[in-house]
């Protein structure tokens, strides 16, 4: 699961305007640790417990949506469509528990981060997603 850097190097974040990330997960500690970890890495990360909370708050569409694949017991496909309509230009990174099925065969530009995660690895995946155009990201299930 080593993201290839063939699609260019990420240059944003720390020096210019930081990339914005919304972290949506029902588990408070997951949310908190991801936001804190990403902020430490220089990103503009905001937490949201529910999808509605994040869409109500957003002034501008985030660069990345980091979202639990079964957020609030939703169907993943349904969830993806909602995010797409709410933030069409955002890259989506899904959070799924190790071993959990992610039934998204049609969404080839979606990356999956497995829980439990290592924060450094999450940061690498986020940087990779920002650096690569959507169609280059392969889904890693």
């Amino acid at each position: 699961m080593n993201p290839t850097s063939s699609c260019g190097k990420f240059r944003g974040g720390r020096t210019e305007i930081p990339a914005s990330i919304v972290v949506i997960d029902d588990e408070p500690l997951v949310r908190w640790s991801l936001v804190a970890g990403l902020r430490q890495a220089g990103f503009d990360a905001v937490p949201a417990a529910t999808f509605e909370e994040s869409s109500a708050r957003g002034q501008r569409a985030p660069d990345i949506v980091l979202v639990d694949v079964r957020l609030g017991g939703r169907d993943p496909v349904n969830l993806m469509e909602q995010i797409r309509s709410f933030a069409p230009g955002s890259r989506i990174l899904l959070l799924a528990v190790e071993g959990q099925d992610v039934p998204l065969s049609g969404w080839s530009d979606v990356d999956v981060i497995r829980k439990p995660f290592d924060l450094a690895a999450v940061v690498r995946r986020v940087e990779h997603a920002l650096a690569c155009p959507p169609h280059d990201v392969k889904m890693a299930v």
Binding site: E27, S33, G99, K115
Partner: protein
Amino acid sequence: MGLIFWADAMTPMGVAVPVLYVAPVLLFMLGGWYWEPLVVAAGATVLIVAGTYLKPAGELASPGLVNRVLETLVVWISAGIVSRYRWTLVRWAAQHEVDRAARERSMQRLEEIRQALDQAAIVAATDQRGVITYANDKFCEISQYSREELLGQTHRIINSGYHSKDFFRQLWTTIAGGEVWRGEIRNRAKNGTFYWVDTTIVPFLDASGKPRQYLAIRSDITQRKRAEAKLAEQSALAQLGQLAAVVAHEVRNPLAGVRGTLQVLRSRAASSESDRSVMDAMIARLDVLNNKVEDILRFARPRSPVLERIDLKSVLVDAAHSAMASAGPSCPRIDVPSNAPPIVGDREMVRDVLLNVLLNACQSGTSEPIEVWVTENAGMTVVEIADRGAGFAEQDPERLFEAFHTTKKSGTGLGLAIVRRLVLLQGGEVSLLSREGGGAIARITLPSATTP
């Protein structure tokens, strides 16, 4: 008879003459048919009457005639007795013949039934103390003991240790009380493998009503038992799989939060060096916990294998390196054969299986090299991993493959259970054997790659 007639005619013998005529009649006591004395008597009568008229003229006709009537009566009475005797003898012989034939027929029928039974069932007879007095071919075949080895022994020789003492006590109480016992028994053959028999034991009682011998009629139900066990295991595993998936999800989600939070806290400048090492230890424990959850999931809910042709040699070498790396310096040398045929399996699963078994061998507490042998047999490739370690104390090696059966202090007791699960999923088999001279051999059988 002519001689007797001549004597009768020539001499005035009086009452002594009938004795002469009775003699030939009595001769038939020794042989011939029961009606022949009567013919002789008739002949004698004719001669006696003829003799009366042929007597020399000097004799008185009248007393002679009276005499001759008595003679004839004596001859006929003795003929009657002899023929009656003969007739009884003949009748008795005929009856005897009928009885003998009937007995022979029933013996033959019994023999046929025995042959049929011997063909159909495992048959053994024991005396009242349970000592084997008869064992048929099928019994020898399934138990792998020769007849000589079985006769004179009790059934303890094939006891598998599976059933409780109470089970056998109840069996003995039943048959010693003269009742038929029926049940299913797991026995152990000479080479240590197990077989199941459906058993009926019939006690045969002596005149006083005490068992004289027991006849055990058994049929091999190993296949059925295996299928039943497999079904039960599958349904149990399916339930366990569902349960494990739910629990794993419920555990891993908060686990992810805790681990991530610890990482954030650890990276904060405020924390001291000692705090950081504690947090590192916590993160390490969480990873161990996550691996255990992973183990349970892999056992209860393995993914479907992706079967492909794989190079056994390279997987073996890979697994051996990993085993030596993770077992550390305590692991002895692993001798991998220089050649191994290609097999059909799931590369990752085969590697997992070999690694697990090699690690067990590494941890068996031996400094002698671990040997790996690869052989091919009837479309299957057999990989044997042999160590000179402590071996296993378990009488029944099958139990070592049961989930949560562990002899180690640490570990989930799932290692060998996962090994067996993965091997079965790939259409193979795995067993553990005691090695002669100490140690254990793990035998993994996987399908060979047939086409080049």
